[in-house]
Symmetry: C2
Subunit: 116 residues, 2 copies
């Protein structure tokens, strides 16, 4: 069950920074410093860990230019590119329906708290 | 950031049992006992918690028939129905690409472990 393909993919996308990073890189290759700037809320450690995970999954490629200082660029792989439309569909759905979800949660909590 | 609509929705769908339950209910309303049977790997507590969460989000309705013993049925709400196509698209994508992800992970681990 834990190895179910859908769950494994959804679990990755549910990660706080994964879908944001993929969307950033959907605009084109970026330097590590650009990504750090775009994901200002993420710690340096979290950003590096998330990028490594995406690299390991085969969604992102890393290019190291041995200059001084070392320059590191990231880009989507073809697999990462193919994931983008699914992320965009999910993003659109979430944005369109989040108010409805919020309203449902508020109604539920109100009912729970007023129960005898 | 944590309140970003996309992240909140993806986070829910990444939950081990959420997408499975929604897919089960996509076939039509089901009794609590049928869902327990379909999700045989989930504990009773986990199943109940997940169903409550889905009810709170407005994806699932619960119908209680005051018989002896009490009969409890669950069904997708219209909002839950509208989420199904997105889940199906994600499932299809995951099933089609999981081998590619597995291969990427194996290649990455091999390279990491062989690094000097």
């Amino acid at each position: 069950m834990a190895r179910c393909p859908t769950h494994r993919v959804l679990d990755r996308l549910g990660d706080k920074w994964v879908s944001l990073l993929l969307k950033e890189l959907g605009e084109g290759p970026k330097r590590h410093s650009d990504l750090a700037h775009a994901l200002a809320g993420a710690s340096q450690k979290m950003l590096t860990q998330t990028l490594r995970g995406l690299e390991r999954d085969g969604f992102v490629s890393r290019f190291v230019t041995p200059s001084v200082p070392v320059r590191v660029d990231y880009a989507l792989t073809p697999l990462g590119e193919r994931l983008l439309p699914v992320i965009h569909a999910m993003t659109l759905w979430a944005e369109r329906h989040i108010e409805e979800i919020d309203a449902a949660q508020q109604a539920y909590d109100l009912l729970e708290n007023s129960a005898p």
